[in-house]
Amino acid sequence: MIGSLLEDPDPVRRPSNLSLVDVILWALRVAIVVGVAVSTFVTLSNTRLSGDQWRDLFIFGISQGSVYALIALGYTLVYGVLLMINFAHGDVFMFGGMTAFFAADWLNDNGLLNTTPYIAVPVILLVGAISSMIVALLLERIAYRPLRRAPRLVPLITAIGASLFISNSVRGLYGDGVKAYPRVDFFQGTFNIFGIPILKSHATVIVSALVLMSALYWFVERTRTGRAMRAVSEDKDTAALMGIDVDRIISITFAIGGMLAGAAGVLYAIVYNQVIWSMGFLPGIKAFTAAVLGGIGNIIGAMLGGLILGVLESLAPTLLLAGYHVPSPNQLRDVIAFSVLVLVLIFRPYGLFGRPEGK
């Protein structure tokens, strides 16, 4: 498993004289477990939701989560080779979704979108993937490459700047407002899979994401370039000595991460039917959460982390809050995602499936 290879060498420092902080942390752990257990019990004991509704929420969570997983792969791949958080990755995702809108619109005007959806939808995905790839490559070349040896916070600040720059450039180039994706007949209605009705759009998203993730896994595990990527992520200098062009591999990593993010942008648009220049931030942060959840640097982990986060985000507001009759629990969806982010980073920065070094 490359997971163990790509793991962060020192995810958490553990000085021994931390008793007070440790006490606070343990109190926090206990409080969370008790809180989650009690509120779940309260909700389930006076629930108003049927089993079907829970199932639909779950499926929505899976389709949402597969989009997060695709974006999370970009974070994880880049973190694997450069040990940096590519904060602008969410905006790379947005750029794909926004640019592909024009392709979708054009195909729709020609009627191709509804007559030949089997060709048109992959074309839109491809447009999204390629445009995001270009942005990711430019980002790496212009903003990150000169800073490889800079202190750690320098590239992170650059990435934050790049994120603002990309999203606001798109706002200037493509315009300010929300762009509504054309309605595709192909996505209307539901599939019945083992008697479970699944919205066709959700099924498309889940299947596309699975295909892309399998392709990525094959690429990293089975091809020569994939092997070079793994070598670079393990040790850049040694990889260079073995004749690997490190700069090229890093570019390829960004390109792949960008393509997946661009495809994710289109899939996101299929779920929500609209795109806007500011849409990169939240999915970006959530995908980062997913990447950390699965252990950053770990490819399988990012996929699982995305799915877990998607489901959690979809179920948790209702599960934890509805029992107390909190008004509009879905407003607090993002709070759940961010709480997961904070808690994972505090308690398991090496991910759910990872292990801290030396244990």
Binding site: V12, A150, A162, Y174, G175
Partner: protein, 576 residues
């Protein structure tokens, strides 16, 4: 071989400049600034923005180690490359118009007319050629300026900057001059929307003369100061401080209420920047959720002082402030304790998570009974009097000026504290910790305690900012506490130079003040903030006014890198 190599480099740089020009047009910056006239009837800020890339590339290209003739040729080639690309893009846009607008919605006919000099009655093809020629000419000028003697260069830069500054302050200066019954002066300098031609020429000349004579004035002043005895020197220093205080004290009266409002805004960011500077600049902890402390301060203040809040205590601001500071410091400790063991970049993301949680919670229906949801908490009383009080000399103070004076006081206090901290034992501990945590720990510094201290100090300063903000607006709404505030404060600190107090002030004026001067700029503010963050990190990571120890630290890292670059360069020149 070497010639071909350098030519290729010139063309490549020129193409980059061309891309920048196309970007400026397509993103809408050029047309937004085209409404702003620098010299009435001749030059708009939009033209100026498009003029800068070829000029700059010419200037840069002429800086290469070649004979003068070669340098100018390089500049010209780069300019022509930029111009060709730009002209080609212009022709393509004309050919694709109006369809292109479906994608790039700023590329209007008006914009194309502007770029193609339609107002001179030119056809697109001639317009494109003119653009090409202009780009080449401008790059040539840039190159010539580079190889010209220093005095000439200085005169041009000085004159140009004076012209630009005077035209930018027009919307404030002209009405202010009219108010102060200096209308004849106002009419001489400005037309209704830009500089008058004659005054523009005068300002250009004046700026040039000042810029050329400045180094001599400065060096004589320096040598005189060095020769003066210590008594005189300290008198001079005190005189300078007194003048500065008098200036700041009378500034609202001089500048009028609108400009005071801008100053107040800048003041908030100076205060926040000083607070974040302790966390980021001194202790090296990147806090992306700084807005959370600002929000906590504002909301605590509103809760305690507003008679209509859920608590309804209606306390006096000055009684509430210590309570709020204490509470916020505790919040800082509480948030800090679990996260401070994390490594730098994770810490940044966790704090960002806290900031976002705060934002969503503040606006949520769930906490509406206490925090008012999207409506916030209103009727927060003013800090002093009822927003009107009397001060000696300046007399009655009201409006934004009523916030200006206390805010100024807090800024000075925060700057003083930050200054004293920096050179204290604590400051040195932070410095050590930032440069190498393990070594700092090995020398007996309790990194956790010092990190917590930095966090709590930053939180307190931020919450004071929030408290003043709440009273300034007489209320709090969740919309004022977005992630963008955190990022703006970060940009202020980064631009000025992390760890530098003067840098924070300069950064706040540059990033907060300028957008207010350039209203057209407002839409592109965030774009520019992003570009500033990237550009500073790439080109000058120590910031505009660097802090000494920080610079040393970054230079060390850069030398490592430059060691490699130098090898490459030697290979190339060895080739030649």
């Amino acid at each position: 071989m070497p010639r071909a190599f350098t030519m290729r480099a010139a063309i490549r740089s020129g193409l980059i400049a061309g891309v920048v020009m196309i970007y400026l047009v397509a993103v809408g910056i050029a047309s937004a600034f085209a409404k702003r006239e620098v010299v009435t009837g001749y030059l708009t800020l939009g033209h100026l923005m498009l003029v800068i890339p070829p000029l700059a590339i010419g200037y840069a290209m002429a800086g290469r180690p070649l004979p003068a003739y070669g340098r100018v040729t390089q500049a010209l080639v780069a300019g022509l490359a930029a111009g060709t690309l730009f002209a080609a893009a212009f022709l393509a846009a004309v050919a694709l118009s109006p369809g292109i607008r479906l994608v790039l919605n700023r590329v209007s006919t008006a914009l194309l007319d502007f770029v193609g000099f339609r107002n001179l009655g030119l056809e697109p093809a001639t317009g494109a050629l003119l653009n090409l020629g202009l780009a080449g000419a401008l790059a040539l000028i840039g190159g010539l300026v580079r190889i010209a003697p220093v005095a000439v260069r200085r005169a041009i830069v000085g004159g140009g900057s004076a012209l630009l500054v005077m035209s930018m302050v027009e919307p404030f200066l002209r009405p202010r001059l009219l108010q102060l019954s200096l209308s004849s002066v106002a009419q001489f300098i400005y037309t209704s929307h830009g500089l008058a031609t004659l005054s523009a020429a005068l300002i250009l000349a004046l700026g040039a003369v000042l810029a050329v004579s400045w180094p001599k004035v400065r060096s004589t002043a320096r040598s005189r100061l060095a020769a003066a005895d210590p008594g005189t020197r300290s008198t001079l220093r005190w005189a300078a401080i007194l003048v500065a205080i008098a200036f700041l004290y009378t500034l609202p009266t001089l500048s009028g209420s609108f400009l005071t409002q801008v100053l107040v805004l800048v003041g908030f960011y100076v205060l926040l920047g000083l607070g974040l500077n302790i966390v980021v600049g001194y202790a090296g902890l990147l806090d992306l959720g700084y807005v959370a402390f600002y929000a906590v301060g504002a909301y605590f203040t509103a809760l305690i002082t507003s008679p209509t809040s859920a608590l309804g205590w209606g306390l006096n601001f000055w009684i509430a402030l210590p309570i709020v500071v204490l509470l916020s410091a505790m919040v800082g400790l509480f948030i800090g304790a679990p996260v401070l063991r994390l490594r730098g970049d994770y810490l940044a993301i966790v704090t960002l998570g806290f900031g976002e949680i705060a934002r969503v919670l503040l606006g949520s229906d769930a906490l509406k009974p206490w925090l008012g949801g999207p409506n916030g908490i209103l009727s927060v009383p003013f800090m002093l009097g009822n927003g009107t009080y009397f001060l000696p000399i300046v007399g009655k103070v009201t409006g934004p000026a009523a916030t200006y004076f206390p805010l100024l006081g807090f800024c000075i206090l925060a700057a003083f504290i930050a200054y004293r901290l920096k050179y204290s034992r604590t400051g040195r501990a932070w410095n050590a910790m930032r440069e190498d945590e393990d070594v700092a720990q090995a020398t007996g510094i309790s990194t956790v305690n010092y990190k917590l201290l930095a966090f709590a100090m930053g939180a307190s300063v931020g919450c004071v900012g929030g408290a003043i903000y709440a009273t300034h607006l007489q209320g709090v709404v969740p919309g004022g506490f977005l992630l963008l505030v955190s990022i703006t404060v970060l940009a202020v600190v980064v631009l000025g130079g992390m760890g530098s107090i003067a840098g924070v002030i300069v950064g706040a004026f540059a990033l907060i003040g300028t957008p207010e001067l350039l209203r057209e700029f407002a839409e592109y503010k965030l774009l520019v903030y992003g570009a500033v963050l990237v550009a500073v990190m790439l080109l000058r990571p120590e910031g505009l006014i660097p802090d000494a120890s920080r610079r040393a630290e970054l230079e060390e890292a850069r030398e490592l890198e430059e060691g490699e670059l130098k090898v490459e360069y030697d290979e190339i020149s060895g080739d030649a």
